[in-house]
Amino acid sequence: MVEILFYVFAAVAIGSALGVVTARTPVGSLLFMVVTLASLAGVYVLLEAHFLAAAQIIVYAGAIMVLFLFVIMLLNLGHEYRRDLQGGLAAVLSFIVVGALAGMLARQFQSAGALDAVDAAGARAIDAALVEQGAVGVIAQPLFTTYVVPFEITGILLLVAIVGALVLAKRKVS
């Protein structure tokens, strides 16, 4: 059952990822992206990362994608598909780069079957932790002890991002 669901989510994710790249308008691209993010959230649930699945839907598919949608609507884009695609030498080069990248990644998976043996033990450990601490507690525990300094720095990063976005997008007063 889990396997079948995984392959359904994976197929939807790959199909809509291709949709993101090939969609004619930015809005279509963005809606495909939302589908990709939602099916990735499904994959996270199957991998027993329940909190991250919820955060993926709320933060990514909710907040960030709506921000993109606001900007696309604000700028009124998407009337020049032909000029939007790279042509000539750049297209050939990007095919070569992507092919090389895919080949390199595919070589990594020739010996990857060994991971699945370790996976069963890892899944049992995560199951035990989930029962003991709950879906949020299992992330919150390391987040607020071992990684508390990076967590606080993340807060500063968000503040800087807010100020930076305001300064950049503000209309110049003259």
Binding site: V20, L52, G78, A123, I162
Partner: protein
Amino acid sequence: MITPAMVLSAILFVVGTFGVLVRRNAIIMFLCIELQLNAVNLAFVALSRIWGIEGQVFVFFVMTVAAAEAAVGLAIIISIFRHYETVNVDNFNLLKW
């Protein structure tokens, strides 16, 4: 189920890279970069089953950084659009050579 998840992550990363290279609309390139970030997140989540829950904590950080990056990047795109009236990256070649 780690190997299929890693394969899915690799495929999504390659598709995202292809999108960044082949499109010229700055916002769609940006969306494809988000796609790459999500592929990396999926790899983190899959490998957290072997190497412990820290992988999921890192995904949390990646999501925060992606939110900050989206805010700043879209602000840059808006201010570029005010200047050039387009978001086609071919027109932004002042720092290219």
